[in-house]
Symmetry: C2
Amino acid sequence: MIETIAHPAHERESAPAGRKMEIVIRAAWQLFLDQGFSATSMDAIAKAAGVSKATLYAYFPSKEALFASLIVAECESLQRDLPVPKLSAGLSEALREFARQYLHTFIHRKDVAFVRIIANESGRFPVLARLFYESGPEATIRRLARFLEEAKAAQLLEFDDPMVAAKQFLSLVRGELPLLIVLGLGDLAEGTIEQEIEAGLKLFLKACEPRV
Amino acid sequence: MIETIAHPAHERESAPAGRKMEIVIRAAWQLFLDQGFSATSMDAIAKAAGVSKATLYAYFPSKEALFASLIVAECESLQRDLPVPKLSAGLSEALREFARQYLHTFIHRKDVAFVRIIANESGRFPVLARLFYESGPEATIRRLARFLEEAKAAQLLEFDDPMVAAKQFLSLVRGELPLLIVLGLGDLAEGTIEQEIEAGLKLFLKACEPRV
DNA sequence: GTCTATAAAGGGATAGAC
DNA sequence: GTCTATCCCTTTATAGAC
């Protein structure tokens, strides 16, 4: 992504390596997501990517370095894909849509698998754990907090601290979902998510909408 | 702790085995909590318990069986130690104290480490994952829901579905705490937990207390 | 850069003595 | 029941040919 411009000259050298590199990264990420760090072997990655183990070690000095590289890249992706609240459609609908986008990451297991991996290697990658929290969950809270502050300024909402209110809204709409998914019990009926969002939104607005 | 009384008679036969068994269980549980299932080796358990590996395999036919046995026992313990809401001290204080007891399991890492282990091995032990969810989280929700229903009957609260309301209250008071702890970022300042509880309680009551 | 082959270490599980 | 010693497999990582 960074080297998109430039380097048209030595395609012959870097292109094969570049393609393989990308295949390796994809295969490794898939395996890490599915099985975690410890359970994923370099052998398995090499096999899935169709390369030899020696090639892996030509790209990355160790399994840890490969893992860290993937996490850092994914955190950048997380920050790019944060939900965006839009007041234009009305406060209620804006929050509803924000919640939908927010929960989408849980339902499709991306974010939860992410947490699971880092959590399981708890002591091992403290820097990566913090990077993830700041790139994903905390950034989401901050973005929503700014939006809530605008709504407060427009006298659509009442609350003390926007960061606290943002955390509370997100807590309400996610409910038990992350736990259920992380436990592999997330086979929910179709409308369940929508119902949870609706219930959470209702409670939040009941508590924070100005009383006429 | 349990066997302080009794068994003075056949100390010679069962006491050595019984004592060692208990030591093994304690050591294994400690290691599983700290390092997870995969990362904990039978060698390490044997060493920590001061027995040989062969002794472990005399007690349990496999590492999986040992692990499952510990999880099942811990789930029984979870159900015994559920928080108990008491209306006697007033609704607000009852919910506050319930929340304190609830979060206590997160702060002291018992429950979270538990989730972390099961989550990472959920593919391997789906039955244990469900057992855990029903023994801990779901049982807690049910207990609180019953209490909320009483409060509703006494016209202290207004809501539609007691199970939904219970989930919402618990979601509010736990906030980001489980995520922070599971990521190893849970070094919170002293009053933080109390503040989170207070804020969650305030929002919940604002939304669910009858308006005079 | 990429491969095959292998070293070195650690894992689960078992045999056999006591 | 408990131990020591060991089998056999998988893992990370590297050596050496091409």
